[in-house]
């Protein structure tokens, strides 16, 4: 199948073709973060308002710092940057190692001694 009127370079590079750069390449071939586990709902906030390019940081790292000027969960970062969650985890590990983001691990209701979280959720839902 060929696309009329487009150069060979652009022929395959559409949304259906998937990402041009494989997710693995974004992380330099690494499958696991250097630090941290990063739950899907771990919350991430940048520690700086601006990061200039430096060695070891790619455009995706900088994009995360930009996105996390407002608090985002790991899942939201993956969705907004259109990257697989596993890739985002590796990138976040790099950023944590450089103190460029702070992370808040999710609340587990198992360790909470009372109903406060449940009641807060119920009240919050009622108020919607």
């Amino acid at each position: 199948m060929t696309v009329q009127g487009e150069s060979a370079d652009h022929q395959w590079v559409d949304d259906h073709a998937g990402p041009v750069v494989r997710p693995y390449a974004v992380t330099g071939g690494r499958a696991r973060p250097v630090t941290g586990t990063f739950d899907l709902i771990s919350l991430v906030m940048a520690t700086r308002t601006d990061v200039s390019p430096e060695i070891g940081l790619g455009p995706e790292h900088l994009a995360i710092v930009g996105l996390c000027q407002r608090m985002q969960s790991v899942a939201e970062i993956a969705a907004h940057l259109d990257l697989p969650v596993g890739t985002v985890r590796v990138l976040l590990g790099d950023l944590v190692a450089r103190n460029l983001v702070q992370i808040r691990e999710p609340q587990s209701t198992l360790g909470v001694p009372d109903h406060s979280i449940f009641e807060a959720v119920i009240n919050g839902l009622r108020a919607l």
């Binding site: 919350l43 520690t47 969705a79 890739t87 839902l125």
Partner: protein, 201 residues
């Protein structure tokens, strides 16, 4: 252009914590619709890289209006307070994504299993999963137009549910209905937790 590094004052940012509720059920049952009905943003989608090849294809009989395949997790967010953010995750609607479920179910308050009475068997795997894991859950029957209405006790019997498990009707498109489902689920999770505590003591 380089503006230089500007650091936030240390300790100035206290991040809230996040919690999650799962929305499970068969393919095309309305999971993303329910998430979207209460989420403060339109539902987002994250994808895990799958290393296995897709086994089987989606069975679309009975859900003629749905054309796309959910191969990822759709989720929404509700800011409860300055300290608490609630995430709603629609579980992948196909059995071949069990490995994603384990991660999703870890630490979740509980789960809503959405059911469609035209394809009731589609929610069996979800129910089996949460029963096996001990995750508190309820069954919400999404009332599709054109589907025959069943009584709740008929659904309860057909699903062979523990009598403690709440079963209710809902319209996943309606915010108030979706809210009621979620509130009922959290109340049920509280009861399950209390009962387990009493069992331990």
């Amino acid at each position: 252009m380089d503006y230089g590094h500007s650091e936030r004052p240390p300790g100035a940012v206290a991040l809230p914590t996040a919690i999650k509720i799962l929305v499970a059920g068969g393919f095309g049952v309305g999971k993303t619709t329910l998430v979207g009905a209460v989420s403060e943003t339109r539902p987002l989608r994250t994808e895990e890289v799958l290393t296995e090849s897709g086994v089987g294809i989606d069975d679309l009989s009975g859900v003629e209006t749905k054309r796309t395949t959910t191969v990822a997790m759709d989720f929404g967010r509700i800011t409860i307070s300055d300290d608490l953010v609630l995430y709603l995750f629609g579980t992948p609607g196909q059995d071949r994504f069990w490995f994603v479920w384990d991660e999703l179910a870890l630490g979740a308050i509980g789960a809503v299993v959405l059911a469609d009475t035209r394809r009731l068997a589609d929610c069996f795997p979800s129910i089996d999963y949460f029963e096996g894991r001990g995750t508190p859950f309820l069954v919400a029957v999404n009332c599709f137009e054109g589907a025959r209405q069943y009584r709740l006790d008929e659904v309860q019997a057909a699903l062979n549910l523990d009598p403690e498990v709440p079963v209710l009707l809902c319209d996943a498109r309606q915010r108030e209905s979706a809210k009621e489902v979620l509130i009922t689920m959290v109340e049920h999770a509280m009861k399950v937790r209390d009962a387990r505590r009493r069992g331990v003591e």
